[in-house]
């Protein structure tokens, strides 16, 4: 069937072009560590759970948007699945976990298309591909988090370009520096991504929101969530997925995994409880959005700390994160800028609370890195947070300005009025109102 050969050759050419040796084919798998099926199973599950967080986030954010923007808002998360999903396997993993180039970025052309690790097993007894997939989900969710800050007023095309560049220029370096062998690896404690994920996304959101300006009509016009039941379900899925996010970050299926899961559960519950208690005191009413915001605050706060604090510490972190986020959101109202879905107020603030706060509740099991005492550790923590905040803010600012001036990022007033769903996607979220 010679008609089909060209395709075959084309691929071969493509592979050759990219310098990919056909690694998997001749690989010697004898000298590898044995696979631990149990750990592999849990890491596969964790990968799946973190994937579940992305539709969860789409629901969480989508429910809070106005009816006319519900699809556009959900698309921000789904587009991250498509775009970063592809870029991660091509270059993202290589940039995060390749050989360190001066401690700030990784690179290894053998890791392009995950070629080199197609058949290898890591020391933890899991196929390297599983780790790459697990990390890939983190890379997907981080830019999707930012989207909440400028929801309801961003063009889709510009957004897509933004998250791709942000992922390569902000996420990958930070991930490499703190986790992948860069200059802060092994110093700052960031169990599952307080700095790398939540603080970097929080500050990116803040900067982008400030640059793009408020939505048309904000804050004069009341902007009501179109469907809070969706937001509640989203929060539920996020909590569920976070077990993979945090407990999976142990890259094991053992004691630390259990501790991370326990801390996650305790902090989420404490965050939720603390938020509704506060609302009950202030307004005599506990809201459902408050409860789920508290869940999120607790989950974010425990993220950097999950494997390293015990139950009392987790409860306290969750408990204090909520009032601080609450305060930050009120402050936003005062300052008048428009962080649509409070990405900074939740992820930025709770990320800092967790990153700093964990120093005081460490279980002290990780040995070596603590020999220098807790105030050294505190300094490492501050360093990690500052680095993420400053670096992410700076590059984000450059990106949004560039993109807005070229392809356009801010949605025109007319399109904002018509709604993103119709103007950008040619769709309507709910056909309910169509009588036919």
């Amino acid at each position: 069937m010679p008609r089909l050969r060209p395709v075959f050759t084309a691929t071969a050419a493509l592979t050759a072009l990219l310098g990919l040796a056909p690694a998997a084919l001749g690989q010697d798998t004898a000298a590898q560590p044995a696979i631990d099926t149990g750990t592999t199973a849990w890491m596969l599950v964790s990968t799946t759970l973190v994937l579940l967080m992305i539709p969860g986030l789409a629901l969480f954010y989508g429910g809070l948007a106005r009816t006319k923007n519900v699809l556009g808002t959900m698309m921000h998360s789904f587009a991250a699945m498509a775009i970063i999903g592809v870029s991660w396997v091509i270059v993202g993993y290589a940039m995060c976990f390749g050989t360190s180039v001066s401690g700030v970025i990784g690179w290894d052309s053998g890791l392009l298309f995950l070629n080199k690790i197609d058949g290898t097993v890591s020391d933890a007894g899991i196929p390297d591909l599983v780790f790459a997939m697990f990390q890939g989900k983190f890379a997907i969710i981080t830019p999707a988090l930012i989207a909440g800050a400028f929801a309801e007023r961003v063009r889709f095309r510009g957004y897509c370009i933004f998250i791709l560049l942000w992922s390569l220029l902000v996420y990958c370096p930070l991930c490499h520096i703190i986790w992948g062998g860069g200059f802060l690896t092994g110093k700052a404690i960031d169990f599952a991504g307080g700095s790398v994920i939540h603080i970097s996304a929080g500050f990116a959101g803040l900067v982008a929101a400030l640059y793009l300006g408020a939505r048309r009509g904000y804050p004069r016009t009341a902007m009501h969530p179109n469907n809070l039941t969706m937001t509640l379900l989203g929060a539920g899925l996020l909590w569920v997925g976070w077990f993979g996010f945090n407990a999976g970050s142990s890259v094991a299926s053992g004691l630390v995994t259990a501790q991370a899961l326990t801390a996650t559960q305790a902090a989420a519950a404490a965050g939720a409880l603390s938020w509704i208690l506060l609302e009950a005191m202030v307004h005599k009413k506990a809201t459902s959005l408050g409860l789920v915001s508290g869940i999120l605050a607790g989950l974010v706060a425990i993220t950097p700390a999950a494997g390293d604090v015990a139950v009392p510490g987790a409860l306290i972190l969750g408990f204090i994160a909520s009032p601080l986020c609450y305060g930050a959101i009120l402050l936003k109202g005062k300052l008048g800028y428009d962080d649509t879905l409070d990405v900074f107020g939740l992820h930025g603030v709770a990320g800092i609370v967790g990153g700093i706060g964990l120093t005081f509740f460490l279980r002290d099991m990780r040995g070596s890195i603590f020999t220098e005492g807790w105030n050294t550790q505190l300094w490492y923590q501050v360093e990690g947070i500052l680095l993420s905040a400053v670096y992410s803010s700076t590059v984000t600012l450059i990106l949004v300005v560039l993109i807005d001036k070229t392809v356009g990022l801010r949605l025109s007033d007319r399109d904002q009025e018509a709604g993103m769903d119709h103007a950008l996607h040619g769709e309507h979220g709910y056909g309910l109102i169509h009588v036919n």
Partner: protein, 113 residues
């Protein structure tokens, strides 16, 4: 024949309907609307009080024969009030009708109401 249109608070719908039935006005058409009222229907959004500028309301349409207009209006007036009358309790409008037809039978005019 007149068309009585009443914009009332959604939480009063059941009471108004019951009162109308008790006054032997059994037919009514109900729909949802939102109104630009003077009053605020305060919602909470992450610690902030949000007062929507369009407040959900319920809209009743009742076609009645002329003799029934006053009874209808009075019934609604009584049942739709919150503790003696509050801002936002709503409004009643009476419009003239030229003709009315029951689809199932084709009856016309007063009989079809």
């Amino acid at each position: 024949m007149k068309l009585v249109i009443a914009i009332i608070q959604p939480d009063k719908l059941d009471e108004v309907r019951q009162a109308l039935i008790d006054a032997e006005i059994g037919r009514v058409t109900v729909s949802r609307c939102t109104g630009h009222g003077r009053t605020g229907d305060i919602d909470l959004y992450r610690g902030q009080e949000v007062s929507p500028n369009l407040v959900p309301k319920t809209r009743l349409e009742i076609a009645v024969n002329d003799a029934f207009v006053d009874r209808t209006v009075d019934t609604i007036l009584t049942a739709a009030k919150h503790s003696g009358g509050e801002k936002g309790d709503g409004k009643i409008m009476v419009l003239p009708i030229d003709d009315c037809i029951r689809i199932s039978t084709g009856e016309r005019g007063g009989d079809a109401i």
